[in-house]
Subunit: 192 residues, 4 copies
Amino acid sequence: MIDEANDKKALIVRTAIRLFTEKGFHGTPTALVAREAGISNGTLFHYFPTKEELINFAYYDIKKRMAADTGAGVARARTNKERARRIWRNAINWGVDHPAEYMFLQQFSSSPFIKKLPPDEIMKVVGIELEVFLDVIRHSHLKDIELEVAFNILFAPVDAVVRAIIDSHGGLDRERLIDSSFRLMWDGVSGE
Amino acid sequence: MIDEANDKKALIVRTAIRLFTEKGFHGTPTALVAREAGISNGTLFHYFPTKEELINFAYYDIKKRMAADTGAGVARARTNKERARRIWRNAINWGVDHPAEYMFLQQFSSSPFIKKLPPDEIMKVVGIELEVFLDVIRHSHLKDIELEVAFNILFAPVDAVVRAIIDSHGGLDRERLIDSSFRLMWDGVSGE
Amino acid sequence: MIDEANDKKALIVRTAIRLFTEKGFHGTPTALVAREAGISNGTLFHYFPTKEELINFAYYDIKKRMAADTGAGVARARTNKERARRIWRNAINWGVDHPAEYMFLQQFSSSPFIKKLPPDEIMKVVGIELEVFLDVIRHSHLKDIELEVAFNILFAPVDAVVRAIIDSHGGLDRERLIDSSFRLMWDGVSGE
Amino acid sequence: MIDEANDKKALIVRTAIRLFTEKGFHGTPTALVAREAGISNGTLFHYFPTKEELINFAYYDIKKRMAADTGAGVARARTNKERARRIWRNAINWGVDHPAEYMFLQQFSSSPFIKKLPPDEIMKVVGIELEVFLDVIRHSHLKDIELEVAFNILFAPVDAVVRAIIDSHGGLDRERLIDSSFRLMWDGVSGE
DNA sequence: AATGAATGAGCTTTCATTCAT
DNA sequence: AATGAATGAAAGCTCATTCAT
């Protein structure tokens, strides 16, 4: 029972994500989501009473998976720099390998349509990664900046890299971009 | 006549931008734009045959103003570093001082609704600023990266800073953030 | 222009009243009103931004016509009793001759769906008739009762008569009912 | 078992009446009734295969209770006038003391949604009271009118009084209204 | 008897766009 | 150029009812 219900909910979310990333929130009627998921209009609203709730749920879902993947293999790294590099690489790879989901995240976070998410909920998700950069931020120009903000500044190039690679449709050397951008960030931050 | 026509077109665009940034593209009916601009429904479509064209026009309009403001005072700076710092500061200040327009730009650039803008058109607008960073990029980790991409990577923290300040509603020290983020970027890029 | 616009609005109201009285508020989709009126869905909402507004408008429209008809010939009557009898007869006749409209009024006034009408607006419409009964109420058992309430008590049998005749589908003697009920009321009120 | 089943049915009806009177038939989804009654959606339809049947049942239920209460103490009265006065007073008091149920009855009886109740079924319920007025009607202006119709005409002011008191939210003197309206009716009917 | 997920037709309302004037 | 009434497809959401368990 539980499995099937979850399956159905998961099915809806998966379908929704696909369509949202293809056509945008507003370009995707709930009826289309239902049809593509092979369920009825009413069933969709049984699981998500509002389109907005569906969108929010999809956002969390993606964010969670992204966070999980981004942390992969970090524990195995010896030095802090290696851990940071892992995360950096993982984050970029995730974006490039999940372009639809990635663009969904971007679309979501600059949509005036939805402003209602509790910030701490979001942070909980990325929280683990933050710690890796804690020490390094403390010895950098960002040492007096609020931690979360500092982290966002530091991480900003990741987004630029992902976008560039996605937009180039494979025309760019992913490894070089990852490497260059990481060294840029690391040098900037550590003065090493 | 021409003046009046331009005035009316400008009036529409100004009204549209205000509403778009308040309510988003989809939250802003063309009818509302017309009413708030004090013209008729039909007149709006006389100047912009399509809502999309109105949005695009608004985008260019903002982008142009932003580019102009970002270049202010750059010529007066002596060293390249000073020029870069000027641009950096100008860009952040512009975003913080024009939050609505800034968010509109963000919203626009990650909207799947509109993909149809020729990239070179966009670049033409930011182009001038690029040159300032040319030399510095060539001596950095980014030297083998395509110039435009390198520029975007370098500039990414600007966005993070602007967002942080806007979101903090005045709770952050703008000067410190500008300074710290610039030094971070500069160190990263120059190994200085 | 004005005439045509008014015509269209009137056409919508007329159609709506017909359908409402046949099928009830909830049994009448706005789309049906539009179709039967020979206009588009959107046009209906151009004139009545809300279904509720359409219903309210229809209510006033009927009420006004009823009030006008009820006052017919009253001025020509000599005595107060004759005037009262006229109104009594007119009111019953109107209800019987406009059964659909009459039932609409009933349906409306006991619908929890709509409670928002300013009472004075309603009274303005029936106001004129009230005066005829003023004097007679003052000399009756109702003399200490608030005027409007007294009037409603006095007039209540009209409704009973109308309903009876409508429900009997012509099986009842209208004249006798009008006459009997009026004498009943008049005797009760005047002790004559 | 039977008790439990009856209990559950009664529970549903009670809940339904409360909600219907608060929000109207159409404003009350069956799902809401079920939820508020603490049972499942399906169970409601086990006891009432149709929403309409639930509404009808609720109508009878209220009507029966009203009739029972209206007859209270009538047997103890000596004269016919006293019996009539009792009924008159009881009816008004019931309406005023059960405003929700009373409005439900009104709403029901002028709803085009439901026309399907056999009239004799309804009369059976009020029947007993009718007899008290039999004699008095026979000596009045209404003597040639069909009994049921005559009764309705006679009783009409009761409704006006109840509505007035309910609408006034306690601002009116209930006793005076009961008294005045009864004397009005009685004088009208008996010429006494 | 009881559940509650599933259905899908149907509803009110929105809105970009057209067009006669 | 300017108007604004008219359009009608489409959207998000509701809800009485069914049915497998």
